[in-house]
Amino acid sequence: MSAAAEERNARAPWALTAPALMLFVGVLLIPLAMTVMLSFHDWGQYKGIEPVFILKNWHEIATDPYYAEMFWRTFRIAVLTTLLTAVLGAPEAYILNRMSGRWKSFFLLVILGPLLISVVARTLGWALLFGGNNGLVNKLLMSAGLIRFPIPFMFTETGMVIALAHVMMPFMVLSVWAALQRLNPQIENAAMSLGAGPVTIIRRIIMPQIMPGVLSGAIIVFSLSASAFATPAIIGGRRLKVAATLAYDEFLNTLNWPLGAAVATLLLVALVLIVVGSNALIERRYAEVFR
């Protein structure tokens, strides 16, 4: 091959990816960099945004316990949501996978169907079900004799976790489902022929093998829940804020863009660190088995 042709070949990948790369830089990296920069600017009720470099916003976030509490709440809700989806979603995927032909595709549609409906619509549905003291859920629980007094769902973390778990469930089910597809279809028979009962098969054979699927689903659900906006905004409103709704309020209600930018940046950095960190841990833990 001639030197010129080789050079042309070396340039080709860059030329081919350039449009996508430019889009990526234009719509993601530049706004992101601008948001980070914005978080260092000053803001006053009357003077508006001043493009100077100060640590005022970061100092406020670091010292005011209000922000700490709000970030803890955000991650507490995300962790509980993740646990709930894992505990419900993994068995759901397993049962789904054992169903035969027609039922399987029907229930897969039932599980994935909600993805086609807007998050706002789904959460408003939950708001209707929760709706104050005589919401449908409370009425049902009370008439079933499970509770004596209505549980507050609206404007509480409980309600938020339930609604978020419902919204996030398809991601967990899909992720575990993908792991189940990789199982050898005879593996349960193999364990059975060696004398294992159903509980042992699930605990010793199935669980360890779908764990990577559960964990990758957990990472997706966790990061989506921690940065979720619509569900916390509807269930929590202005009374129970999480990081995303707080940033939104700073931007659009208080008009303190720099503080909002600082909150958003902190959320992003924290999420990236958590996700990258746990991903590395998972990969190390399962490297030996799932190479």
Partner: protein, 346 residues
């Protein structure tokens, strides 16, 4: 009494009958092969013995006890799956130990038996390897060790060697036979490789479309095939149309210009089949012309056009002069080397 007995076993999936009227008695310590083309119901039959599928009809008995009442986990059979089905998250030793754990074998004895089982299949030193980091042949041995370590009453092997290359397969065949001889476990091997079935088994069950075509020793099924299917499936064969002429006395069996005294009790048109290595070139017999002649090292393969249609002949490369392509020859064989099918009772 038979050790493992299948009586009139049948399996239907919906309207489709996949296995039908399958009856077989396996003696203790016997090595049996299920041989047949793809989709003939071998795996289905094996899975019914294992208990993963319930027979639609018929009974399966082990030492006289009906297996239908016994859960697969309690049958104590050793199974090697076609895809091995090793536990990928466990090491080789943990895989082999699993069955012993389920039987609550104490830790010390367990370790000893696992070590011995892995050594027996030639995998000493591989205890801590995960299956994904082993070759196909090594995984297959782990699967075998895992099945053998529980001292199964019957060993069921579903095409365990089909994923291996020719050389490794041959080695594993020899090893498998040796292991089976030393432990004396009753074994059923599923295969669609006739050489494998013949070199390993005490008896072969030839299957076609869910039915048994023939049960017999490798030699019987090869030399006295019960049907055209068996003779075609077990190696190459020549089928010629022939007639039995009872008008002449003594009666004669005639195929073209070849003839021999007729077998007793048959008349009319019949089919005779002769293995290619049993046909010789001579001065009398079926006239034929050599179409092609292929050298295959230790033997020659001739494709001929005879009076009774195409014929193949295999001759040992023993240094004698062999006919050339285009040469006219006479084909002959000893009457006891052929099998006769069809014909009316006489």
């Amino acid at each position: 009494m038979a050790y493992l007995e299948l009586e009139g076993v049948a399996k239907q999936f919906g309207a489709q009958t996949v296995v039908d009227d399958f009856s077989l008695a396996v003696g203790k310590g016997e090595f049996i092969s299920f041989l047949g083309p793809s989709g003939c119901g071998k795996t289905t039959t094996l899975q019914m013995i294992a208990g993963f599928l319930d027979p639609t009809r018929g009974a399966i008995r082990l030492e006289g006890k009906d297996l239908a009442a016994i859960h697969p986990a309690k049958r104590g059979l050793g199974i090697v799956f076609q895809s091995y089905a090793l536990f990928p998250h466990m090491t080789a030793a943990e895989n082999v130990a699993f069955g012993l754990e389920m039987r609550n074998v104490p830790r010390g004895e367990r370790a000893e038996r696992v070590r011995a089982a892995l050594a027996m299949v030639g995998l000493a030193g591989f205890e801590d390897r995960h299956p994904r980091r082993m070759s196909g042949g090594q995984q297959q041995r782990v699967a075998l060790a895992r099945a053998l370590v529980i001292k199964p009453s019957v060993l069921l092997l579903d095409e365990p060697l089909s994923n291996l290359d020719a050389k490794l397969r041959e080695e594993m065949q020899i090893e498998l036979r040796q292991i089976q001889r030393t432990i004396g476990t009753t074994t059923i091997l599923v295969t669609h490789d006739q050489n494998e079935a013949m070199s390993l088994s005490d008896r072969i069950v030839v299957m076609s479309q869910g039915r048994i075509e023939q049960i017999g020793t490798p030699q019987e099924t090869y030399e006295k095939p019960a049907s055209a299917f068996v003779s075609q499936f077990l190696g190459k064969t020549n089928d010629f149309a022939a007639t039995i002429d009872r008008a002449s006395a003594p009666a004669r069996l005639i195929a073209g210009s070849w003839s021999a005294p007729a077998p007793a009790g048959l008349s009319g048109p019949v089919t005779i089949s002769i293995r290619p290595e049993r046909i010789g070139f001579g001065d009398a017999g079926l006239s034929a012309k050599i179409i092609t002649r292929i050298f295959q090292g230790n033997h020659w393969l001739f494709q001929c056009e005879s009076e009774c249609g195409p014929a193949i002949v295999i001759r040992q490369n023993d240094g004698e002069r062999q006919p050339a392509e285009g040469e006219a020859v006479r084909l002959s064989w000893r009457p006891e080397d052929m099998s006769v099918r069809g014909g009316a009772a006489a």
